[in-house]
């Protein structure tokens, strides 16, 4: 009985234990302002992880999400700074910048039949190099006099809710409806689970893959827009830092999912877990290196626990 409960709610219990620990350590953790901070601070990671969820659901992986983020930020900042575009033009430019990365990935994966891992790895190499060439070595491009509307992507609020949290929430809802509640989502999951069966069933695998790669990188570019608006500049190669967290969030989510599939709600849970742990460790006032190490160890343990729980559930059911 207790064992069965553990299998079902083990991860939740650990999550609760961390929550309690952080709250006991520093009362600030539980204050509304701080929790709102956590959600606001996790918006960009949430957006990147959504893009990653889509690609992992097709059965691949995308190592170039950071490049899509960088390109989104770069195109938007340059559009405003060099071409004097307003916020709407800049946003469109950023999204187009992101789609360039997706189209490139799609050409490599579908046109040249390179596996997604190697294809997106080379996109990562090439994209990083392009940024260093373009910025003459990796210096940031700052744009202090950004249009107010563009700045509001990160700093504004809609009825008191930070804009970036609103954008992330809207994207979560859109992704949820498409991936979990529509015929396209069924097709994507079908090709992710059994590619050959999906082809036999008449699913246009290549067309779906192309759309997914473009959609994922455009989504990541939205994250880039927010990041650029937040610090009023484009910092080359800054997207890389989100890659590992995004992959971890998707796989924690997949392990929590009843069928072991990447899912939008699972990813949301994964992102919130990672962000809350990071925030809580910050508030404990630990040394920077210690905090990093603890975060890594918690990541490994959380993944192991989530997967073990999933396996146990399967054995229990069968």
């Amino acid at each position: 009985m207790i064992w069965a409960m553990l299998q079902r709610f083990g991860f939740l219990l650990v999550f609760g234990a961390f929550f309690g620990l952080f709250a006991a350590w520093n009362p600030v953790f539980l204050q509304g302002g701080n929790l709102l901070n956590v959600i606001e601070g996790s918006a960009v990671l949430m957006i990147i992880a959504l893009g990653m969820t889509l690609i992992v659901a097709t059965g691949g992986i995308d190592l170039s999400v950071g490049i899509a983020l960088d390109f989104g930020a770069a195109f938007a900042v340059v559009a405003m700074k060099s071409y004097g575009m307003d916020w709407f033009g800049a946003t469109c430019a950023g999204l187009i910048g992101g789609s360039v990365v997706g189209i490139f990935n799609a050409i490599l994966v579908i046109g040249l039949r390179i596996s997604p891992f190697l294809a997106t790895l080379s996109t990562f190499f090439i994209g990083s190099s392009v940024q260093r060439i373009f910025t003459n070595g990796g210096g940031p491009i700052s744009h202090r006099r950004m249009p107010e509307e563009f700045r509001n992507l990160a700093l504004g609020d809609i009825y008191g809710v930070p804009t970036e949290a609103v954008i992330a929430t809207v994207l979560v809802v859109v992704y949820f409806l498409i991936l979990e509640r529509s015929i396209w989502g069924r097709r994507i999951h079908a090709m992710g689970m059994q590619r050959s069966a999906a082809i036999v069933a008449g699913i246009q695998v290549n067309r779906i893959l192309i759309m997914c790669f473009i959609a994922a990188s455009v989504t990541c570019a939205v994250g880039g827009l927010i990041a650029a608006a937040n610090i009023r500049m484009f910092t080359p190669l800054s997207g890389f830092s989100y890659l590992l967290d995004a992959i971890a969030a998707v796989f924690i989510g997949a392990a929590l999912n009843a069928r072991g599939r990447p899912s939008v709600l699972g990813t949301v849970a994964g992102v919130l877990f990672l962000s809350i742990v990071a925030n809580g460790l910050n508030l404990m006032g630990l040394n920077f290196n210690t905090k990093d190490a603890l975060q890594g160890i918690i990541l490994v343990s959380a993944l192991a626990l989530a997967v073990a729980q999933q396996r146990a559930r399967h054995n229990f059911a069968s």
Binding site: G59, G60, I61, L108, L112, R113, I114, S115, P116, F117, L118, A119, L121, S122, T123, F124, F125, I126, G127, S128, S129, V130, R132, I133, N136, G137, L244, I247, A248, F251, F288, N289, T290, D292, A293, L294, Q295, G296, I297, L299, V300, L303, A304, V307, A308, R311
Partner: protein, 324 residues
């Protein structure tokens, strides 16, 4: 009819050699444009530079052999570079505190074995996918190493480390000799022994190997431990190459390792990851990086060149595969 099929086989075989031909072409282009490139001194320099990558590639090669070459669901160990940096970090800190080399070596060895055993346990006992396990392990191990070294650069001038970089044995640099010996032993173990054939069978067709009674999970676990061992040795070469341990080495090492190992697959007849392919890939990648540098090409371009190389080589080998 017959001549046609023969000719077809000819073009196919040619397509199979294309990756090597492309590399040869690039190297010829470099040596024409950079006159000093083909000197013995420079070739030795290239080999010395590539040693850490060669070692981690050999380790990754074993894991891929045991787990299968599907990157997402098969065998892969991204944590080897982190293990190498951990080994380097522990050795550097303890050497500067005045411990004898043997003690430092044992401490680093134990730490690396813990990482390898953890990888093995998480993958074979709990059933996590290797990609996920080792990626998370990479983050954790780098974090632990940053605590050990306080993210500082630590200079090491211990005679042994200096010897790895600068001493010759019978006219061959000591470092190259050691790495060659390690790679030869791993090659012998994986290709010429019963254990090695079992390992390859496990990766080649997991279900078939399981049905014929091979301990597939144990073999995969052993490959992770062996990979951690190459990381342990690599740590000392990281110290030798950089005259000490510096933070951030692992990122580049990881990218080069993956690049070299999977490029190496394009050199093998069956397009699978092999020990020699991985080693050759590591040396060629180092040769091309150094070559373009000595041609005076801006370093900002190296990522672009490496990325394009993956695309060209892997695309051609996929093309040759399709022709079959």
């Amino acid at each position: 009819m017959q001549t046609k099929s023969v000719r077809h086989r000819g073009t196919r075989e040619l397509a199979g050699y294309l990756p090597l031909i492309i590399f040869a072409g690039v190297l010829v282009y470099i040596s024409v444009n950079a006159p000093n490139f083909l000197t013995l001194r420079n070739l030795e320099l290239i080999l010395m530079q590539s040693l850490p990558v060669v070692l981690v590639c050999a380790g990754l090669g074993v894991v891929v052999m045991a787990g299968g070459d599907d990157v997402v669901s098969g065998g892969i160990d991204l944590s080897i570079p982190a293990t190498a940096v951990l080994s380097a970090g522990i050795a550097a800190v303890m050497l500067t505190q005045g411990w004898p080399l043997a003690v430092c070596g044992i401490a680093a060895f134990i730490a690396c074995m813990i990482v390898g055993l953890l990888n093995a346990a998480l993958v074979t006992r709990i059933g996590m996918t290797p990609l996920l396990t080792t990626l998370a392990m990479f983050v954790a191990v780098v974090g632990v190493n940053n605590v050990i070294t306080s993210s500082r650069r630590i200079n090491v001038d211990h005679p042994f480390i200096v010897a790895l970089r600068a001493q010759d044995v019978l006219g061959i640099p000591l470092g190259i000799a050691v790495v060659a010996a390690v790679v030869a032993v791993i090659y012998f173990a994986t290709h010429k022994t019963r254990w090695g054939l079992h390992l390859q069978a496990a990766g080649g067709g997991r279900d078939a190997a399981e049905i014929s009674g091979l301990p597939v999970r144990r073999l995969l676990g052993q490959s992770f431990v062996l990979a951690a061992f190459t990381g342990f040795i690599c740590g000392f070469f990281v110290l030798a190459r950089g005259s000490g341990s510096s933070p951030g080495v692992q990122d580049n090492l990881m990218l080069e390792m993956v690049l070299a190992t999977f490029l190496g697959a394009a050199f093998s007849a069956r397009r699978v990851v092999t020990m020699w392919g991985a080693v050759l890939g590591a040396v060629l990648v180092a040769a091309i990086s150094i070559g373009f540098k000595s041609m005076g090409v801006n370093v900002f371009w190296t990522g672009l060149i490496k990325g394009s190389l993956i695309v060209v080589v892997v695309a051609f080998s996929a093309l040759a595969q399709r022709g079959r």
